[in-house]
C-alpha cells in the first residue's frame, strides 16, 4: 500500500504547472478563452486518458488528478476537464480519439447533474446526455443560449439540437471522472487562494502590524489549510476508485466533490474577508478565483446534492465499506 504520488505523477503535474505559469497568467485568465491549450496538448494533457493505440498516454484518472489541481490553481479557462477527462470515456473506441489526444478536438459536455454546457461556444463537438444516453452533436446542429453568470471566464450555455449521433458508451463513467477532475481543480483553486491570502496577510498592515500577525487571521487561515489538507485525500481516493471501478465509486466521487467544493468555498470566503474591500474589486485578480470556485463548486452537482447522496450511501446501506 502506497498512498503517495509516484515520481512520474509528480513530474507530469510539475510540467503542467510550468506550462501554466508561462502561458496562463492571470491576465490570460481574465481575457483569454483557452490559453495554453496547444502547450498543454504538447505535454500530453489531452491524451492522458486516451489509449495508446489512439496516440494517447493510456493512463488513469489518478495520473490526471495532480495535473488537474494545477489547472485549478491557475484558474485555467476553457473546456479542459470536458475535453481531457469526459471526452476520452464518452468517445471510447471512436477514431476521433486521435484528434482528441492531439488537442485538436475541443469538446464540451452536458451530462450528469450539469444543467449547462461550459464553454460550448468554443467546442468542436458537443456531447449531450438525453434519456440517459450520450449523444454527439456537431456545433452547427446545436443552438446555444448563453447563460451569463458570475464566472465570466467559464461561460455557460443552454444547448438545444436537431441532429445528434447516439454514442455507444455509458455516460456514468464519464460523469464520475469529470466530477473528480473538477474536484481536483477546486482543491487547486483553494490552494491558490490560501497562498495568495497568506501572501497578502504578510504584507498588508493595519493598526501598525501585518494583519497576518493577528490571531484571528491566523486561525482562519489555519482552518482553510486544514480543510484543504483533508479534502485532498478524498479526491485522490475517488480517482483510484474510478480507475478500479470499485463498488463504492459513486460514494467516493460524491465525497470528493462535496469536500473539495466546501473547502474551496471556505478558502474563497476567507480570502475575501482577509483581503477586505480590495478583494471585492477588479483591482486584484482575486475575483477571478472566487468566481471560479463558486462556478466549479456548483458544477456537476453542488455540495448539497452530493451530501444528500452521501447520507443515503453511508446510512442507507447495510454495511459501510471502507476504502479499499
Amino acid at each position: 500500500m502506497n498512498f503517495a504520488f509516484t515520481d512520474d505523477q509528480l513530474a507530469l503535474a510539475a510540467a503542467v504547472r510550468q506550462v501554466l505559469a508561462a502561458h496562463c497568467p492571470a491576465e490570460a485568465v481574465r481575457n483569454g478563452r483557452s490559453p495554453a491549450w496547444s502547450q498543454l496538448a504538447e505535454i500530453g494533457l489531452f491524451g492522458l486518458l486516451v489509449p495508446q493505440e489512439h496516440d494517447g498516454l493510456g493512463l488513469g484518472l489518478v495520473d490526471a488528478v495532480l495535473p488537474f489541481e494545477e489547472t485549478g490553481r491557475a484558474a485555467l479557462p476553457g473546456p479542459v476537464a470536458e475535453t481531457a477527462v469526459a471526452a476520452p470515456l464518452l468517445l471510447a473506441g471512436d477514431p476521433a480519439l486521435g484528434k482528441l489526444a492531439a488537442g485538436s478536438l475541443r469538446v464540451s459536455v452536458r451530462i450528469g447533474d450539469q444543467v449547462y454546457a461550459p464553454d460550448a461556444d468554443l467546442a468542436d463537438l458537443l456531447i449531450v446526455e438525453r434519456e440517459g444516453v450520450p449523444h454527439a452533436v456537431r456545433p452547427e446542429a446545436a443552438r446555444l443560449t448563453p447563460q451569463s453568470g458570475v464566472d465570466r471566464t467559464r461561460p455557460l450555455f443552454g444547448v438545444e439540437f436537431r441532429d445528434a449521433t447516439r454514442l455507444r458508451t455509458e455516460v456514468a463513467p464519464a460523469v464520475r471522472a469529470v466530477t473528480v477532475a473538477v474536484a481536483a481543480q477546486l482543491v487547486g483553486a483553494a490552494r491558490h487562494l490560501l497562498d495568495t491570502t497568506v501572501g497578502y496577510a504578510r504584507t498588508r498592515r493595519q493598526f501598525g502590524a501585518p494583519i497576518g500577525s493577528f490571531q484571528a487571521v491566523k486561525h482562519r487561515l489555519a482552518e482553510v489549510a486544514i480543510a484543504v489538507e483533508f479534502a485532498a485525500p478524498l479526491v485522490y481516493a475517488a480517482a483510484l476508485a474510478v480507475d478500479r471501478r470499485l463498488p463504492t465509486v459513486d460514494r467516493d466521487v460524491s465525497a470528493a466533490k462535496a469536500a473539495a467544493g466546501e473547502a474551496a468555498e471556505l478558502a474563497a470566503g476567507t480570502a475575501l474577508q482577509v483581503h477586505g474591500a480590495i478583494g471585492y474589486t477588479g483591482e486584484l485578480d482575486l475575483g477571478l478565483w472566487l468566481a471560479r470556485v463558486w462556478s466549479l463548486s456548483a458544477a456537476y452537482g453542488g455540495p448539497g446534492l452530493h451530501r444528500s447522496r452521501l447520507r443515503t450511501a453511508i446510512l442507507g446501506t447495510p454495511e459501510v465499506r471502507r476504502w479499499p
Binding site: 451569463s148 458570475v150 455557460l156 493595519q206 471585492y280 456548483a298 451530501r307
Partner: protein, 381 residues
C-alpha cells in the same frame, strides 16, 4: 413586556403598506450604479418624500413625520417586504443626518436636511483611505487652513454612491502635527470639485469610487462640529452605522421570507431546509432583539458597544441567507441578470455579492468581535 402594536402603530403600518402596494414599480429599477438607474432611484425618493415617507423618523420641519423608533421599524418592515427600491440617499440619511442633528449648526440643518430628505442632494460617504481600511485613525488626507476655510488634499476610497452623488462627507487631518485620533476634522464638500474614479467590483458594478482631492476649497461653514473634533463626531456616526439605524431588520426579514418561499418552490433537501428554517428564525430573533433595543433607546439609554453584536449577527446572517439561496438553486443560482434562466433576474446572486461586503465594511467583524470582547465583556486589550 409585550408585542402588541398600538392602534396607531397598526394604522401606520396599514398606511405604509397600502401606499407601497400602489407605488412600488412593477419592474425593478435599473442599478443605481448606472447614471440612468441613479436618476430613477432619485425619482423614487422624490415620490417617497412627497408622502413624507423618505425620512419618517425626522421632525416634520425637515420633511419627516416625527415617527417613533418602533414606527420606523414598522416602516422598514413594510418597505422591504414590498420589494421597494434600494435607498440611493442612504449615506446621507443614515450616516450624515444623525451627525447633523447632534453636531451640526441650525444653519447646516436648514441648509442640508430638507434637500437630503427629497434626494435633491444625494450624499456619498468618504471614510476609508487606501492605507486606512479598518484602521480609521491612520488617515492621512489633509485639510490645509486658508483664509475663510480649508483646502483638501489626498485620496479617499470605497466611497459609495460617489460616481453620481452631489455631496460628500469625511474626515481630514487638519493638524499636520497630529497623530492617530487627534487633529482630524469632519468636512462636508461638493463632489463637483473632486476627481472621482469608479472602482469595478466583482459583479461588474461600480457602486464604489476613489476620490482624489487636489486643493479643493471648502469654506468654514462646511465644517461639521469643531475643527480637530472629527474623530469623536465620526465615531458617534459610525456607532450609528454599526447600530440600529443602518440595518433595520426589515431587509433581513424580507430576505428570509423570500428564502423560505424559494426553499418551498425548489423542494429543499432536509439539510438545506434546516438551514433555511434557522435563518428565518435568526431574522426573527434579530427583529425581536431590535424591538428591545428600540425600547431602550427610546427610554434614553445608550446601546454603545453592544451594537457590535448586532453588526456581526446581521452581516453574517445576510451572507448565510444568500449563500443558501444559491445552494438551493444550484448552477442556476450563479446566473446573472443577463441570463434567460436566472431566477428573479439574478437578484439572489446580486444580493450575495452585496452581502459579502457586510462583514467587511463599517468595521470588519474581526474588529467588532474585539470590541465585544473588550468593551462588552471586559477582557483585557
Amino acid at each position: 413586556m409585550d408585542l402588541d402594536f398600538t392602534r396607531a402603530e397598526q394604522d401606520f403600518r396599514a398606511e405604509v403598506r397600502d401606499w407601497l402596494a400602489g407605488h412600488v414599480p412593477g419592474a425593478p429599477l435599473p442599478s443605481m450604479d448606472t447614471r440612468e438607474g441613479f436618476e430613477a432611484h432619485r425619482e423614487w425618493e422624490h415620490l417617497l418624500a412627497g408622502e413624507r415617507l423618505s425620512v419618517v423618523s425626522w421632525p416634520v420641519e425637515y420633511g419627516g413625520r416625527g415617527a417613533s423608533l418602533v414606527e420606523w421599524l414598522i416602516f422598514e418592515e413594510e418597505y422591504w417586504a414590498a420589494s421597494a427600491p434600494g435607498r440611493v440617499s442612504q449615506n446621507g440619511i443614515f450616516l450624515l443626518a444623525p451627525t447633523l442633528f447632534s453636531h451640526g449648526t441650525a444653519e447646516q440643518r436648514e441648509r442640508f436636511l430638507p434637500g437630503m430628505a427629497r434626494a435633491d442632494d444625494v450624499w456619498a460617504q468618504a471614510w476609508s483611505e487606501p492605507e486606512a481600511g479598518s484602521d480609521l485613525a491612520a488617515l492621512t488626507s489633509r485639510a490645509e487652513r486658508v483664509e475663510g476655510g480649508w483646502r483638501l488634499h489626498g485620496q479617499k476610497t470605497w466611497s459609495s454612491r460617489a460616481s453620481y452623488a452631489d455631496w460628500g462627507f469625511g474626515l481630514f487631518r487638519s493638524d499636520p502635527a497630529s497623530a492617530r485620533h487627534r487633529g482630524l476634522t469632519y468636512f462636508m464638500f461638493p463632489l463637483a470639485g473632486v476627481t472621482v474614479r469608479p472602482i469595478a467590483q466583482l459583479d461588474g458594478e461600480h457602486g464604489f469610487a476613489e476620490l482624489f482631492f487636489d486643493g479643493l476649497f471648502v469654506p468654514d461653514d462646511l465644517v461639521l462640529g469643531a475643527a480637530g473634533e472629527g474623530w469623536r463626531i465620526a465615531m458617534a456616526t459610525t456607532s450609528s452605522e454599526r447600530g440600529l439605524t443602518l440595518r433595520s431588520p426589515g431587509r433581513f426579514l424580507a430576505t428570509a421570507d423570500r428564502l423560505v418561499r424559494l426553499a418551498r418552490s425548489t423542494g429543499a433537501d432536509p439539510v438545506l431546509a434546516d438551514q433555511v428554517a434557522r435563518a428565518w428564525l435568526d431574522a426573527e430573533s434579530y427583529r425581536l432583539h431590535t424591538f428591545g433595543t428600540a425600547r431602550r433607546l427610546a427610554a434614553g439609554e445608550e446601546i454603545g458597544s453592544a451594537s457590535s453584536m448586532g453588526k456581526v449577527f446581521w452581516s453574517e446572517l445576510d451572507v448565510r441567507m444568500h449563500a443558501l439561496a444559491l445552494r438551493l438553486l444550484g448552477e442556476r443560482g450563479l446566473l446573472d441578470g443577463g441570463a434567460p434562466d436566472a431566477e428573479e433576474g439574478g437578484r439572489w446572486l446580486d444580493g450575495y455579492l452585496f452581502s459579502l461586503a457586510g462583514p467587511i465594511y463599517a468595521g470588519t467583524n474581526e474588529i467588532q468581535r474585539n470590541i465585544i470582547a473588550e468593551r462588552v465583556l471586559g477582557l483585557p486589550r
